[in-house]
């Protein structure tokens, strides 16, 4: 097609005046052509790009298909085109609406579509108040919010009711100010976002507290942006409010009931499991089942055999299969089960109930299992059975009989053991008992006490009975307890009985012998008392004798010595006087003097002996070396005269009476000097005296002393001389008073000295021995304990 230039110019002016632009599309090349105004209208980015695609690209994405189809239709049918769409205006960065009119036309075998285009103003679309009023009759609350501050433009009555407000409280007011309790700042931002993006916002189940009701209502809110054609943007928000209160409440109630039921099931002491399918998958379990299975909480949806492999050879699986097949409920008490708990196979007992679960077609699809763990009860029961058996054993072993008094029936029943004693084999009525050979009153007493003393009800009695068969007497001891019913009435008395005949006999025998022994003891006591008195008398007598002895000693020392002294003195006087006259023969007078002198010595030694005999030693620590020194001083004259050789080893300190010990040593040494100063033939010789000491155990004492020794350690002192010695026969006699082994004229002495020595040794808990052979010297050995009992430690 071709146009003359004028026409083209006039047409262009006309088009411009009408606000029209022109365009054409070549269907073969799929290129369009348009004037400048068309290019501008569509906002083409690249004016040199005339492709159909570039054109379509300018169309609002939502309307592209629609536009494309309209073009395709027009070209296909070679008819006209009228299509309106939005396209992006690059100047205002917003969409405007464009309307295209066109007509298909063939030119030189090419199909062209040509026409004009015009921008059209979209009519402002507003939701009319009429629509809202109509919607009041529906169950949907509606409101329209203005974009600026989200204030209410329009609402229907239901909306106001749903959110618990009055229409006038809302209209014209911003959403945030009208219902602040429902709408926060955050909410407002969301709604602004809806307006900006054009997306719909749903807020389900908003809690709306209503002043008139205790429980809140629940409303679903939908916010839909409304497009303003004129402004080419979303300017209003349509609010749809649907009341879902009843649905929500219903759902919440259902949830609560479900939770409650779940709680009941979970906390039930009965373990519950729902097993589904022939392989018994665990569908539902409660805590009790989890506890029993002992496998922890992760057992759901697993076959039972997988969770509890230990049941493989136990009856459960078989039982479950049986229920599954027969559709019959299975119930069993105290079923034994071995269950792996905490890594250990444990024996348990369960009361179980397996119920088949049937679907609509009465087909089994699963089993509901109830089981109660009764292990503790069963164990207790078994233990009780055991202790009952033990008790029976004890009864048998102790040879006890058992008996029961049935109070209502007035009958006594008993075991075989009792039969053997009382001679009756079957139960006895009270009446029959009263005719038996026993003390009925005693039985009645015990019986009355037992049935009236609630709640203890103790029955205790010991009685004698004669067996009518054997005529033997039995002493029976019975012990029992009364059982009372709930009203405190005695129903029966049950207990044990024992034949205590032999014990009682034994007791009687014992009592008799105790009595006898007591009498014997009393008699012995009396005798003892008598001998005690005798002892006291003897003691008194002794102390009196002691006093007499002391008096005797005094008399001996003083009154006997005095006349002796005078005899000597007067003899001397006579000698003296007649010496002057020079003719007196002194021979007889000498005899008198010597006798008196000897008697003086005797009396003096006897006195010493009697003193030492009666005195208790004054125990002190005594150094024997000092004692020996003193003795040598006392005997210095004799020692010098005889020129004696005295050799003494160092001596110990011992516990003893210094005076007595001095006497002992002095007598021993003077004794040795005396018998060593002359030989058997009467010739003078120098005495050699050896004193030694040794520590010994009591066991080393001479045999005849060991039994009398009280101490563990002793000193053994020995005095060896080179004197005339004596015959071994007299080694004991030598220590007797006035025992002389030699003639008075040969050796002077009282014959008391060695007796004193022995006395001193004995006073110190010691001993003395003498050994000798005639002409071989004498050996005296003195044994003294290392320590005296009184001064020990």
């Amino acid at each position: 097609m071709s146009y003359s230039p004028e026409f083209t110019l006039q047409t262009d002016l006309a088009l411009k005046a009408a606000g029209l632009s022109i365009w054409q599309l070549d269907s073969t090349s799929a290129h369009y052509r348009g004037d400048d105004r068309f290019q501008q209208l569509l906002g083409m980015k690249d004016p040199s790009d005339h492709s159909y695609t570039a054109f379509l690209d300018r169309v609002h994405p939502e309307e592209r298909d629609q536009v494309n189809q309209a073009f395709a239709q027009a070209l296909k049918t070679e008819t006209s085109l009228d299509v309106t769409f939005r396209c992006m205006d690059p100047l205002i960065q917003d969409y405007h609406t464009v309307r295209l009119w066109g007509q298909s036309e063939r030119v030189n075998d090419t199909l062209l579509l040509r026409g004009v285009a015009q921008q059209v103003k979209s009519a402002p679309v507003s939701i009319s108040q009429e629509l809202f009023t109509w919607l009041d009759s529906t169950s949907i609350g509606m409101a329209l919010l203005e974009e600026h501050d989200l204030s209410y433009v329009t609402i229907n009555a239901l909306y106001a009711t749903l959110i618990g407000k009055k229409t006038e409280e809302l209209l014209g007011k911003p959403l945030l100010a009208a219902i602040p309790d429902l709408i926060g700042q955050e909410y407002k931002e969301k709604l602004k976002g809806v307006l900006a993006s054009g997306t719909i916002l749903s807020v389900p189940e908003v809690e709306v507290p209503l002043p008139s009701e205790q429980e809140p209502n629940y409303i679903d809110f939908t916010y839909k942006p409304h497009w303003n054609e004129d402004l080419q943007r979303y300017t209003q928000l349509l609010v749809l409010a649907t009341d879902v209160t009843s649905q929500v409440r219903m759902r919440k109630e259902l949830e609560r009931q479900k939770a409650e039921l779940e709680h009941v099931i979970q906390s039930a002491p009965v373990s519950i499991a729902r097993l589904i399918g022939p392989d018994f998958k665990i569908a539902t379990v409660n805590q009790a089942f989890v506890d029993i299975s002992g496998k922890g909480p992760h057992i759901l949806n697993k076959p039972l055999i997988e969770v509890m492999p230990e049941i493989e050879n136990q009856p459960f699986l078989h039982l479950l299969q049986q229920v599954y097949e027969t559709k019959e409920t299975y119930e069993q008490k105290a079923l034994t089960a071995y269950i792996m708990q905490e890594g250990q196979l444990q024996q348990k007992y369960f009361n179980v109930c397996y119920t088949p679960l049937l679907d609509d077609h009465q087909e089994v699809y699963g089993i509901l299992c109830f089981s109660i763990d009764v292990t503790t009860q069963i164990r207790l029961q078994k233990r009780s059975e055991q202790s009952s058996q033990s008790l029976q054993n004890a009864v048998n072993l102790a040879q006890l009989g058992t008996w029961v008094i049935h109070i209502e029936e007035k009958v006594l029943s008993f075991s075989a053991a009792v039969s053997a004693w009382i001679g009756f084999t079957s139960a006895l009525t009270f009446e029959k008992i009263s005719r038996m050979d026993l003390d009925v009153r005693l039985l009645e007493q015990a019986y009355r006490k037992a049935v009236t003393s609630y709640p203890e009800g103790r029955f205790e009695i010991e009685f004698e009975v004669v067996n009518p068969q054997t005529q033997r007497h039995h002493t029976l001891y019975a012990l029992g307890n009364t059982h009372f019913d709930e009203h405190g009435r005695a129903t029966r008395i049950r207990g044990f009985v024992q034949d205590v005949s032999s014990q009682r006999k034994m007791q009687q025998v014992l009592e008799v012998s105790v009595k006898e022994r007591t009498q014997q003891l009393a008699a012995t006591n009396e005798e003892l008392q008598v001998s005690n008195e005798e002892l006291l008398q003897a003691n008194e007598h002794l102390s009196r004798s002691n006093e007499s002895l002391e008096q005797f000693a005094f008399i001996a020392s003083h009154d006997l010595q005095e006349p002796l002294r005078k005899i000597r003195q007067f003899s001397d006087l006579i000698v003296k006087r007649y010496q002057r006259e020079q003719y007196l023969d002194e021979f007889y007078l000498d005899r008198i003097r010597q006798s008196a002198s000897r008697m003086s010595l005797l009396v003096s030694d006897l006195l010493t002996f009697s003193r030492i005999s009666n005195a208790t030693p004054q125990l002190k620590r005594v150094d024997l070396n000092q004692i020996l020194e003193r003795v040598q001083e006392n005997l210095s004259v004799t020692l010098e005269e005889t020129q004696a050789q005295l050799s003494v080893v160092p001596l110990p300190v011992i516990e003893g009476d210094a005076m007595q010990l001095e006497q002992l040593w002095q007598n021993l040494i003077s004794n040795a000097l005396k018998f060593s100063s002359k030989t058997l033939t009467g010739q003078d010789q120098i005495p050699a005296i050896q004193i030694n000491k040794r520590e010994i155990n009591a066991s080393e004492l001479p045999l005849n002393f060991i039994a009398q020794s009280n101490e563990k350690m002793y000193y053994k002192f020995s005095i060896q001389d080179n004197g005339v010695g004596f015959d071994e026969r007299y080694s004991e006699r030598i220590f007797g008073v006035f025992q002389r082994l030699h003639g008075k004229t040969e050796f002077k002495g009282s014959g008391i000295g060695l007796a004193i020595c022995q006395k001193v040794a004995l006073n110190h808990g010691g001993f003395i021995t003498a050994q000798s052979q005639v002409g071989m010297g004498a050996l005296f050995e003195v044994y003294l304990p290392k320590s005296q009992p009184e001064v020990k430690g």
Binding site: S557, H558, Q561, K566, R568, D572, L573, K576, A596, S604
Partner: protein
């Protein structure tokens, strides 16, 4: 220095109730000290009253311990209690036989100038007496009139 002690006015007193002993004393003393005036008392009470009357000024008192009535010990105690007699410091010795240790201990709690055992040997007895008399003849004491 020599002193002439007046033995005429200061007798040797012997308290002794045994006649035998008095005889022996006299016998020996006549021999060893014939210059002494001897005065025998047989009772302690008599000697005590004689001393208390101040009529008696003894040179020396020889006393037995064991006496009938007042004993030698009792007499000595009485004399100790008399201030005047005590200051005269009359020598006082015991002669007894036999002597017990406990008597010795008791006697030396009193004011005595000696305790001797009458020796059975006459010669020894004589020696005892001789030494005592010699000693007190030589010894000065406040009671002696020859000391100025």
């Amino acid at each position: 220095m020599s002193h002439s002690f007046d033995f005429e006015t200061h007798p040797l007193i012997i308290l002794e109730d045994d006649e035998d002993d008095r005889h022996i004393y006299e016998n020996i003393l006549r021999e060893i000290a014939p210059y002494l005036q001897l005065r025998f008392f047989s009772r302690g009470e008599d000697l005590l009253s004689a001393l208390e009357s101040r009529s008696l000024q003894p040179f020396l008192i020889i006393s037995e311990v064991h006496l009938g009535g007042m004993t030698g010990m009792e007499l000595r105690r009485k004399l100790d209690e008399d201030e005047e007699i005590r200051t005269k410091a009359i020598p006082f010795v015991f002669f007894s036989h036999p002597i017990f240790k406990r008597e010795l201990e008791e006697a030396y709690h009193l004011t005595i100038q000696g305790f001797f055992e009458k020796s059975p040997d006459l010669t020894a007895f004589q020696k005892q007496l001789d030494s005592v008399i010699r000693y007190w003849t030589d010894c000065l004491h406040p009671n002696r009139s020859d000391v100025k």
